[in-house]
Assembly symmetry: C2
Homo-oligomer: 156 residues x 2
Amino acid sequence: MNVDFINPFLSATIGVLKTMAFTEVQAGKPFLKKDKISHGDVSGIVGITGPPNGSMSLTFSKACIVQIVSNMLGETFQEVNDDIRDAVGELSNMISGTARNDLGKKGFSFKTSIPTVVSGPAHEIRHMCKAPTIAIPFKTTAGSFVVEISFENGSG
Amino acid sequence: MNVDFINPFLSATIGVLKTMAFTEVQAGKPFLKKDKISHGDVSGIVGITGPPNGSMSLTFSKACIVQIVSNMLGETFQEVNDDIRDAVGELSNMISGTARNDLGKKGFSFKTSIPTVVSGPAHEIRHMCKAPTIAIPFKTTAGSFVVEISFENGSG
């Protein structure tokens, strides 16, 4: 995968969580995943079409997303409910859209699908792409989450 | 949503499962979902970009997908493992690609992302689209599954 694709997603995640959810996040070092698997309790998934085609996911533990959405909506949540799922859809949309715009300025033209939100304790997410998936780990005071991006080989 | 979008996904599902997995499926009547929620054990998700943008999911119970992939690979599976997940990615890719080609012949130009596969007992899938999601229920001898498609309002 073109390494120029990583930073726009990293910056968009930091910026959107700060602006929308008043949450400071710390990005860890992006790494290549061979097994392409993540586990979490709530995930937002966005399809990306180019070429190259790809996919993006945000995968949160329950503790982490409950805290983020509590900050975002100014209301205290304890459980994963519809407000949390809607917020994950909104965050996925804004992060993928911000990254897409940033990539557009660099000459890469992508479109992004409407998000799909998955919830269920310890589900597994797998990007079905032959090329390695890039995982960007993030830390918050309430726990960690991961942003994954995957693109086909080819023009990327 | 444009009702012309439904049949290509319905026919593609029947055709791909017959050709690839030697499985005859019976389509039920498509219906509009207001709650946008499905539950299943293994799902394949594909992002769609147009306009209009959208998303597609296939959501299977464990019993149903284990039987389909056993037919497909000529090997008996009991549990959801990597072979099953890979097969769901492949089926999602082929069904969305076949529907996309069919829609292209009708003058609708869409692109489809790489699939993402979710597994985990009784996870919930939600398409984050303001317009209603269309659900197409299917029956097999090993149980039922659902194909959902969701498109933004607008040119669709």
